[in-house]
């Protein structure tokens, strides 16, 4: 149980915390843009941490800066590393937002803004917990380190070297990351596995300029048709990815996992209604949805462009076409090996008369965490207490690159204590975060600190 003063502080400062979060949400820190907004968000966070008694600094990288913070309370207390990211996905298409993406507002119990959930809102739960302990609980019960990244949404291109270079400063006894979701609003959950990521930008070249489709059609290979053929060949009729060796290192589910997952509701009808689709048959359609989403690798085109796309018609064979392809990976796949397979596939499938150019994007290894560590048990207890229900272990299909780096470079199995809901529209227009998840999340974060301290006492 949290000390009453801490609980009451959290309760009585809800409006104020929401106001602070809104300040952060108003900074359009879009990861892709080098327009100064990311550095401003980083500075805002460093200032805010100072206000909580945390010594903090903005650390430049080759891309967007990261924020590091430290609050040392007691040599005998364990040290908890809290990770979050302040960068957000681009808000486009803007016309689909009901309120502007960087003008946060509350409607019907939801906070609406780009980053409301992912990850400014979730990060804020920990800042609220720290504040409550500091102001009303006699100080935080654990030593704290904060690591707030600025490039998560661009695949964390400089993160590996940053973590390696700051390994000592980041050293801790436990780590917590709130950048994932509950299985559903009435099924509080802790995540023990994340998918990894590998991606390329593939450009197919044909004639050295756009040419007349009447004068040359039938003789000159078309880059759009050629690219389409290559993309189509990347899946077979059953939805399996055809890249050589793609499934070689995929770890099968354990019997325990199969049993546990069979008991989990997956409300396919609700998901279909929410997304406006009539079918969930993407991917390997012979497998159950949860297995496909959590434990199987995938390949998706995130975008495609080529030739004339303006109004009316322009009857050309375009000079080039390109696509961005991202693959979600599962344990024990390695991005490098999968990319080698993709390169081989592309070399073998480039149609005659066309050329291919491949640009590798930032990737991440998948993670599979031990579900029964001390920190994990503390987190499950904290979430159960704050949300008043048993906490379930789940996996997540998304990627949080830092998790694997903490494991590999810092020897830390982070706890993935996310408070999002599947209806939060991450990366989509009208991203949102439920107020109830936000406030209870802060409570869970505060309890987690207490339980960590108790376990090590």
């Amino acid at each position: 149980m949290l000390p009453t003063a801490v609980s009451e502080y959290l309760l009585s400062h809800r409006e104020q915390s929401l106001g602070s979060l809104f300040e952060l949400l108003r900074i359009p820190s879009i990861a892709n843009l080098d327009d100064g907004a990311c550095p401003r968000a980083a500075e805002w966070l460093a200032d805010y941490l100072h206000g909580l008694g945390v010594s903090a600094r903005v650390c430049p990288t080759d891309g967007r800066p990261n924020v590091l913070g430290e609050l040392h309370v007691d040599d005998r207390a364990p040290t908890l590393l809290v990770y979050g990211h302040y960068d957000v996905q681009p808000p486009e298409p803007l016309e689909l937002w009901e309120s502007p993406p960087f003008e946060p507002e509350v409607r019907d119990g939801w906070i609406y803004a780009r980053g409301a959930d992912d990850d400014k809102g979730q990060l804020f739960t920990h800042l609220m917990a720290i504040e409550a302990w500091q102001r009303a609980g006699g100080g935080a019960p654990v030593n704290l380190k904060l690591f707030i990244e600025g490039e998560e949404e661009t695949g964390s291109p400089t993160l590996e070297s940053f973590v390696a270079d700051h390994a000592e400063e980041l050293a801790a006894d436990a780590a917590v990351i709130s950048d994932s979701s509950f299985h559903s609003a009435d099924c509080p959950s802790i995540t023990y596995a994340l998918r990894g990521l590998a991606g390329v930008e593939l450009t197919v070249g044909g004639p050295d300029r756009d040419i007349h489709s009447g004068l040359f059609g039938g003789a000159v290979a078309n880059p759009v048709n050629g690219l389409a053929k290559m993309i189509a060949a990347l899946h077979d009729e059953r939805g399996r990815v055809t890249i050589p060796g793609f499934y070689d290192d995929v770890r099968e589910l354990t019997d325990d996992e199969r049993r546990a997952w069979a008991k989990l509701d997956y409300d396919a009808a609700a998901v279909m209604t929410d997304l406006g689709v009539g079918d969930l048959g993407g991917g390997e359609r012979d497998l159950p949805p949860l297995e496909r989403l959590w434990a199987r690798p995938t390949l998706d085109c995130n975008g495609i462009a080529g030739g004339y796309t303006g109004p009316g018609s322009k009857t050309i064979i375009p000079a080039a076409a390109s696509t961005k392809i991202s693959m979600r990976l599962v344990a024990d796949q390695r991005p490098e090996k999968v990319l080698d397979g993709l390169r081989q596939f592309i070399a073998e499938h480039t149609p005659p008369g066309l050329t291919c150019e491949i640009k590798t994007m930032a990737g991440a290894r998948p993670v599979l965490l031990a579900p029964d560590s001390a920190a994990m048990r503390a987190a499950r207890a904290a979430v159960s207490e704050a949300f008043g229900r048993e906490t379930t272990l789940v996996r997540c299909g998304a990627s949080v690159p830092v998790t694997e780096l903490m494991q590999r470079l810092l020897g830390l199995d982070a706890v993935l204590m996310g408070f999002g809901l599947s209806e939060d529209r991450l990366h989509s227009p009208n991203e949102r975060f439920a107020l109830d998840q936000f406030y209870r999340g802060a409570e869970a974060a505060a309890i987690f600190m207490q339980k960590l301290a108790e376990k090590s006492a």
Copy 2:
């Protein structure tokens, strides 16, 4: 033989005619844009025709206006209808132009500008011929009608009703269209067949917004991947189009045509060098290139768009993807029937979980003209005389929608007396027209009028 005064007028007014053409080329009459440039070009042409003694007027349509002109010289003389179009293809990509597309200039014997060949330059050969006859030859030897279209490059969406509505005004004994090319610079040619055109814009819809590829990848069908699969399925492994019934109405080559085409040089190496491609295996690769380009139907994607295509990565399953598809048709295919087949194909190939929307673009029927009409013989003689070589009969893979409408609605088999060269970069950056073709083309046009008058005398 042309009267000496007419020949000399053409020779001594070359610079002046080029200057007038440049005025027209400077008007950026891009067919796709409703920015007032097309009406300006139409007005310029009507004024210019007035200057030649032709009564002319600008005729509004639902899209870009057309120009009609008439010059009556003698009730006993035959009437020649001259067709051209003043609208041009969009100039993009602009960065590939060596000189701005609407600032014409001459370099190394070529006129460079959008529309230099297609079709302002070619149209101008007839205006020069009219001028020479009017100013130096005692008046044109035939009655003349001019029809200058403003929507050729957008597939002539309002042309059919325009021609039907103005059938009486357009009635003539012969028609000539200069919007095609020589087989090569040393092989003067008259074109006796054109491919038709049918096109759609196909939009594939998935989730009602861009969604997170980690949270939903493996369950929700991806519109880009789905569209790619559909495009890929439109051709088989031998490059044949798989639309049901697509080849049903394709007329086979005659033995005469096969014999004649076997004697024609097709310099594949030069075409590949010019276009910067290593292969001419697009289309039905089992057939010779000339047959594929002139006598076989094709299907090309002119452009494709969907999802995130900005800098860096955005790991989404996009809400939608779309492509513009155009098909070149040959006798005796019909656009409506081919489009019915495509609609059936799309309905049968739409992947589960995705939707398809089809927008039909303007089309044109293919044409196959009698090669031995009186007008055709006059044209062959005129071109042979002006260029000093025997004229060959060829087909052309492009479409000039008015040709088929003249045949069907006016009962006129137009003569396709084009002066372009295959290296003119039609629809591409750095479009050009050889000065020699321009000046000799005007001479051929003048001789053609004379020969038409003689034949009917």
